[in-house]
Symmetry: C2
DNA sequence: GTGCTTGCAAAGACTTTGCAAACTT
DNA sequence: AAGTTTGCAAAGTCTTTGCAAGCAC
């Protein structure tokens, strides 16, 4: 399992370098540190969190570079932008999961659960056809309250975001 | 049709006043101007647009009051917050449409189409159950490109947002 | 009259940008 | 060596907030 995971990260790492080369962008320490920070993180992360993680790998990484690198990562498809509305904009390293995914956002602990939603693409196509549009991305999100928190006054996810 | 629409607006207007009264909030000219601005607008609108519309009704309305009134309107359920991600946060007056709706967002003209999505609630329930969560809101969005624009180099919706 | 609401301007949060130094190729 | 990329700090954008004047009740 661990080796499999490393495999995916290593492949993605090469993909990223290829992507940079294709776009005539340079392979810098900062860009690779940001890539590694994103892919070593299991959960969703914000730009600010990515800055923190990146600096643990290469302290020279600046906020500006993180903000400049994120669009490259999302354009390459290696990082997915997760917009759950309101305040926060999250990102998630794409490690071979299916593309049709929905997010369940806990309103109590703010944890984001990613789940497969295999009908999503079909749905987008069906609806868009009628409007003369070609679907590009689909987003399905359910915001929900934690029943465990309500019953037990506690929720083990409460602090998990900071892992 | 026009009378029907006015009926809905008038009913909503009374609901808003009731809501304010229930919450011990005062019925001010500014709040009512903002309400009217929202309900006289057919399309989705941003906070800034709502400020403009409101000022046409009551020039004394300030940006701050719009930002302070929007949460009241959304809390009352009379205005729906539509988060299509990226930059813009939109709002839409709730004029008796079904609650289970999806948004199709045109990536070219930025127009937002609202459509019924009757399975949305069912889906949220099914998925959330497994996670021990109680669904509160569901959001389904498809971002799509305009085929007409691609074929004809033009799209009649291009300027519609400013209506 | 009491105290909630308002407009204004300042402050906040988050993101982008200009520029000279540093680095990749 | 040439030209991209970087960090820094300043600027931008959107939203919130403190305060004294104004208004609803």
């Amino acid at each position: 399992m661990n080796t499999l995971k490393s495999d995916i990260i290593n492949k993605s790492r090469i993909s990223f370098k290829d992507f940079l080369a294709t776009k005539s962008l340079r392979i810098t320490n900062q860009r690779m540190a940001i890539f590694d920070a994103a892919f070593n993180h299991i959960e969703h992360f914000t730009a600010e969190e990515l800055l923190d993680f990146s600096r643990k790998i290469d302290p020279s990484v600046s906020r500006a570079t993180v903000y400049r690198t994120l669009p490259i990562l999302t354009e390459s498809g290696l990082v997915k932008e997760i917009d759950i509305g309101h305040d926060n904009k999250f990102y998630l390293a794409h490690k071979g999961q299916k593309n049709e995914r929905a997010q369940i956002v806990c309103l109590d602990c703010e944890k984001i659960f990613e789940i497969d939603a295999p009908f999503l693409e079909w749905y987008g196509n069906t609806v868009s056809e009628k409007l003369g549009l070609k679907p590009e991305t689909q987003r399905l999100q359910v915001h929900a309250h934690c029943l465990k928190l309500k019953d037990l006054q506690t929720c083990e996810n409460k602090e998990d975001r900071m892992v």
